[in-house]
Amino acid sequence: SSALALELSLQESLLLKSLGLSAKPSPKTPIPVPPVLWRIFQRRKTQPSMNKEPVDACRVEEFDVPGDIIRVFTDQGHFIPKGQPQGQLCLRKRLYFNLSMLEEDENVTMAQLEIKFHHNSYHTSSQGQIFELRLSQPSQVSLQGMPEPRQKLLVEQSFAQLHKSLLFNLSMVARDWRMHNRNLGLVLEVAVSGGDEVNELQGLCTSIDSFLDTSLLVVTLSQQCQVSRRRR
């Protein structure tokens, strides 16, 4: 029976390897399935399997990019003290996504950052006041874990209202993390400006307290798919 158990274990590890896994996962604190992944999964499940045209298993139609693996990474970064007031800084947070799970032979074809808030801020902002969102990439991190002043600005956008969900294309950044094997994360800042009264701006800042979380959706093309695409 021990020989059989050993053989079964070997077979299992061979299959897990072909599925792209180093070991059998055992999730400790399973997170809820992101709705976008459920939607894609359900849509694929309902597609008839005997179509005249075979489904391209190496393309993610929903995003119109090549790929066969879609991952959603949760943010592991911490909030950063706001420090000296610069305008009215409401939120400052380090974003960190551990992409080390990606295998060597996977190519990143898309990376999309989602910043989520509990609710829209339509009712809180008044005329003339705007939210400013900045996303930057630190080039160095100090010993205290604080980003050094040298930062590359990736996104700077102003909004009259903040929406529940904001999406940003970070494909180039994710490819850069992979290529240089160096991921120092990102820094997210949200500020308000344009109001006359400090109290008014502080009131607007409280609407940012509805900040929920961020996640990074990454689409990759595995070696297996790259070979089959070339063959076709």
């Binding site: 896994l21 059998k24 996962p25 992944l37 999964f41 959603v72 080390s100 799970m101």
Partner: protein
Amino acid sequence: RSAQHPPITLSNLCRPRRLYISFSDVGWENWIIAPQGYLANYCLGECPFPLTAELNSTNHAILQTMVHSLDPQGTPQPCCVPVRLSPISILYYDNSDNVVLRHYADMVVDECGCR
């Protein structure tokens, strides 16, 4: 020389047979989120002489059955194997507890053939 084979009927010709794979049966229910199982199927059946077009045979398989009919001991019949497979998507937790949706090729047997 005559081969000792049971009579060939339509029911024992090479074709896909129903096989439902349940991920809980292999102890994977903790990390595979969906599906809980799927209809994978398998191929089983005879590839007798003469091979017909319905058996999805290759020219090589046709010749092999001819040789087999002349020398049943020395040459086996062609094998009944999958010739068309389709992919499925699996939603699972990886080794870092991230949720992953992956499209896997060659998971479902759609057609079998004598090869």
